[in-house]
């Protein structure tokens, strides 16, 4: 059936408020009796706290309270409880909070914070994950292995800095490797995907208030309000119902706000001044030093193939510089492992991923969640393999793509409805080949590259979305979910979906704006590109229940069977009499002329959970651990300036099989933006440390992200729609996906242009110049 709202280019429901500056973000909120917080940061990457002297700071004007970790016994977490809200006896990274100063104004808090003196005994530090995992490395957590944890999923190696070891064992790769014929090909290489920052334009913020009645209330820039609620309840040992979390608009998230980060510290500080609200908004520098980072992978991978290009095995080892605490990164490590094959079938897979404590900010979710790191390696190696075999990269890709009946590394069998990789590849090859590349000349080198991707949403096996829906007496509908609007357009697609099921105009539908755990229905969290997919199914469920309720009431009015009542465009229809009752008339039950009322008010709750998920088996790493996949291919052409090393992306083409495009404008926006963010990772972005273990590039432009002029000259975006039974109207996750293959695509194209195999990101202008120079010298 043709849809009227789903699939249409409707205007975003939040656009007007955002263009007039009325949309409210956490920094825009002020509360009565509000104190401002400034944080004293460690400034050294590893050390014992000997003494914190607050005497001078206490005397500063406007000062209200200085909170330190002295005596704090709390550890917070969701699956691995290894982090105190504020440093207690030692600091584990240079951006860690040592004291929080609360004062009447930000300036006063800042002045007082500068007057706090901390003495440390410096300890040796380690930043590199491979070094940190080696014997003899400085021990960052003496208690590694004995922290409370979910034992089925988190696998520490006590006595080391490895707090999580994920292993994947499918088939037997060493046998496959040993059985390789001399004519078979094995490629292997080492790779690096450095620590990076999400750089959501809005810095993290939180405002927390402890009531004198013991209620905890927090406003935060966070993608996971119910997780935050439960973490705070666990920290302060209060029932979750006594914690209320408010989430306003988010100015971008990209995963950097999906994990609990600064909120426990703000709440801990606020607990010392009950009755006051405590506000902290990070500076951009603090976002780099003291929120969460992403990526940070060093790895090696080996792929074997027969002479005809058929893959025989894959072996990989990855070390993640996961920073000072591990709760937010261990699942990223697991996912990086079980998806590092890319969308290809390998009969034999051995993967070991190590989540390693390092003296850097903790790593958390970052758009793509482990997939860009792992598939960077396979995407590049497959290109190298193709060159070795003298075959076009696309031919090898096609030969090994996951497709109906094939099995992925987790052992899951692919169905046709999971998506059409070959068609994605056709689409990007066609787009790129439409404009032939110029010949290399004295000034420029030209190249093209291609890679494929897959992404599964990583989620708790019990993750679900819930939706409440309420019809009002005028027939308009209020819809409530707890998906966070952070730019992706969730409020808009939800509105479209409600309109579609209830067959009423979008103007009659109001979706929630703020999320508030006191009123919002439970939602696991807004991550993994799951809102359209999972929230959409919850909406369908709720809307169908509303229709059922309305049919029940209409049947009572007409004294007939509910099953014979028809529903069409906001009206209940008697099939024989053509009698009609509107949703509005039935909204509060049906009231007859004398007031007698029958039937239920039209309010319903719907929900959806991806069925049948399990956590990966601790021994094999396999199992039904991925709820779904979205497949795609990307390709680009680029130009390298021989003199400057500058790379210009001429044309970037993306094709994803998204099942169904709910809103062509917002869907395209996700791809166009994701590609450019991926180009940042490929060519510009890296957290750089100074000799002393502090971060060097803590603001723009030292940390460079793409500007308008860095964007591709042209983007082609093709969205395929393979029908499936999973998503609402077939719509599947697609928001993180555009970033996953970008680095491999660009580096494959750089090889084509320069003949240099780059394997470490980012490939900056300087690196290209140096490589070109070396190449010339070698000639």
């Amino acid at each position: 059936m043709k849809q009227r709202y789903v699939g249409q280019k409707v205007q975003r429901v939040d656009a007007v408020n955002k263009v007039v500056g009325r949309a409210c973000y956490v920094a825009d909120i002020s509360l009565p009796r509000m104190l401002h917080a400034k944080v004293v940061r460690a400034g050294i990457p590893h050390g014992k706290i000997l003494q914190i002297d607050t005497i001078e700071a206490e005397k500063m004007p406007g000062m209200k309270k200085i909170v330190t970790g002295k005596g704090c016994e709390m550890l917070f977490g969701t699956c691995l409880w290894d982090q105190p809200p504020i440093a207690v006896d030692k600091v584990r990274h240079a951006g860690e909070a040592v004291a929080v100063v609360l004062a009447d104004t930000v300036n006063q808090a800042e002045a007082a914070a500068k007057a706090v003196k901390v003495q440390y005994e410096k300890l040796p530090f380690v930043l590199d994950p491979v070094e940190a995992a080696a014997p003899g490395a400085p021990v960052i957590h003496e208690k590694n292995g004995s922290y409370r944890r979910v034992e089925y999923s988190v696998h520490p190696i006590p006595g080391t800095n490895v707090f999580h070891h994920y292993k994947l064992r499918k088939g037997n790769s060493s046998v496959a490797r040993a059985e390789s014929d001399v004519i078979d090909v094995i490629v292997e290489e080492e790779f690096e995907f450095p620590l990076s920052n999400h750089v959501a334009l809005e810095p993290h913020g939180a405002i927390c208030r402890f009531g004198l009645d013991g209620e905890i209330e927090i406003w935060a820039s966070n993608q996971a309000p119910f997780v935050l609620r439960d973490v705070l309840a666990d920290m302060f040992k209060v029932p979750a119902s006594r914690v209320r979390v408010h989430i306003p608009y988010l100015g971008g998230g990209f995963g950097g706000k999906s994990d609990v980060s600064i909120e426990p510290m703000v709440a801990y500080a606020a607990s010392f001044v009950p009755g006051y609200a405590v506000k902290l908004v990070l500076t951009r520098k603090e976002v780099f030093t003291s929120s969460l980072l992403g990526r940070g992978m060093k790895g090696k991978m080996r792929i074997g193939a027969k002479k005809d290009g058929t893959f025989t095995f894959l072996e990989a080892e990855m070390y993640f510089a996961d920073g000072a605490y591990g709760d937010t990164s261990w699942p990223v490590d697991t996912v990086a492992g079980h998806n590092c094959t890319g969308p290809y079938e390998f009969g034999n897979v051995t993967v070991d991923v190590y989540g390693v404590y390092t003296n850097s900010p903790p790593v958390g979710a970052y758009r793509g969640y482990g997939h860009p790191e792992g598939q960077f390696m396979s995407g590049r190696l497959i290109d190298m393999l193709a060159k070795r075999l003298g075959m076009p990269t696309g031919e090898i890709m096609r030969k090994n793509f996951l497709s109906e009946g094939r099995q992925n590394a987790l052992g899951q069998v692919i169905k046709k409805s999971h998506g059409n990789l070959a068609a994605c590849l056709d689409a990007v090859e066609k787009a790129i080949d439409e404009t032939p590349l110029p010949e290399n000349d004295d000034r420029y080198l030209y190249g093209k590259g291609v890679a494929a991707m897959m992404k599964s949403p990583k989620m708790a096996a019990n993750a679900a979305s819930c939706c409440t829906m309420q019809v009002n007496a005028d027939g308009c509908v209020f819809v409530n979910l707890a998906g966070i609007e952070m730019g992706q357009g969730v409020q808009t697609v939800f509105t479209q979906m409600v309109a579609e099921v209830l067959q009423i105009p979008m103007e009659k539908i109001k979706v929630y704006t703020d999320v508030d755990t006191q009123f919002s229905p439970w939602e696991w969290q807004t991550v993994a590109s799951m809102q359209t997919y999972r929230g959409g199914r919850a909406i369908q469920d709720a809307a169908l229940r509303i229709i059922e309720l309305a049919k029940d009431t209409a049947a009572k009015v007409w004294n007939c069977e509910p099953g014979m009542v028809l529903y069409r465009e906001g009206e209940l229809i008697h099939p024989n009499t053509e009698g009609k009752l509107t949703l509005g008339v039935l909204a509060r039950g049906y009231m007859s002329f004398n007031g007698l009322t029958v039937g239920s008010p039209l309010i319903a709750t719907g929900w959806y959970r991806v069925p049948g998920l399990t956590d990966p088996d601790p021994e094999t790493g396999m199992g039904n651990a991925a709820g779904s996949w979205t497949f795609g291919c990307q390709a680009c052409t680029l130009r390298v300036d021989r003199q400057t090393g500058e790379v210009k992306i001429l044309h970037f083409a993306s094709a994803f099989d998204v099942g169904k495009v709910v809103n062509p404008v917002t869907a395209r926006g996700q791809v166009a933006g994701g590609v450019v963010q991926g180009l940042g990772a490929a060519l510009m972005e890296k957290i750089v440390f100074k000799e002393d273990g502090t971060i060097k590039n803590v603001n723009f432009p030292a940390y460079k992200i793409p500007r308008l002029k860095d964007a591709p000259k042209k983007q082609t975006i093709v969205l395929l729609e393979t029908p499936n039974d999973e998503g609402p109207w077939s719509a599947k996750p697609m928001a993180e996906h555009p970033i996953v293959a970008v680095a491999a695509v660009v580096l494959n194209a750089l090889y084509d242009a320069t003949g240099v195999e780059f394997t470490a990101l980012p490939v900056t202008q300087d690196k290209i110049l140096e490589a070109l120079r070396k190449k010339e010298e070698a000639l």
């Binding site: 263009v19 920094a27 810095p203």
Partner: protein, 161 residues
């Protein structure tokens, strides 16, 4: 106590500044409640805090409050005249150039300054101005489209009908 007298969105304002470093962006947001101006970096690199001061686009996070003395400042709140969107705001809505919205007010103000001075600014000039801003969501294609659409709307509005 320092006193700042200036005009904001056409209204004369007097603000008593606290001790220490106070920027124009702080005055607008914290003293006057004009929170439509966003702070993304604090060093004038991202453009989210862009406002118009004496007809020029400035990054308000790098303008010390004192420098606004006697000046005329326009913010995003002053742009939608009489409750109606300005053509640039309309263009951002229509072009789908808004995602998280945090960079949007600054971009709108930058273009307002540009088109007020040069209603027919060419593409190169537009790109030069937009390149002063950071957006992490859109990949810039819809922002560029919105800027071009703004130009045609501004021109159409300037012409007598």
């Amino acid at each position: 106590m320092r006193i700042l007298n200036f005009s904001v969105n056409g209204v004369p304002r007097t603000v008593h500044l606290e001790e220490g470093r106070v920027m124009l962006s702080d005055v607008l947001r914290d003293y006057l409640g004009l929170t439509g101006t966003k702070i993304g970096c604090g060093v004038g690199q991202c453009g989210a805090c862009t406002v118009i001061m004496d007809k020029k686009a400035v990054t308000s996070c790098t303008v010390p409050a004192e420098k606004a003395e006697g000046k005329s400042v326009f913010t995003i709140e002053g742009l939608a005249d009489g409750g109606k969107l300005n053509p640039i705001q309309e263009a951002f809505v229509e072009a789908g150039a808004v995602q998280c919205g945090f960079c949007t007010p600054g971009l709108v103000m930058r273009l307002f300054a540009l088109f007020s001075e040069n209603p027919e600014a060419d593409d190169e000039t537009i790109e030069e101005e937009l390149n002063k801003h950071l957006c992490r969501c859109t990949g810039y294609e819809t922002i560029l489209e919105a800027a071009r659409l703004s130009r045609s709307k501004m021109i159409a509005r300037a012409k007598p009908s």
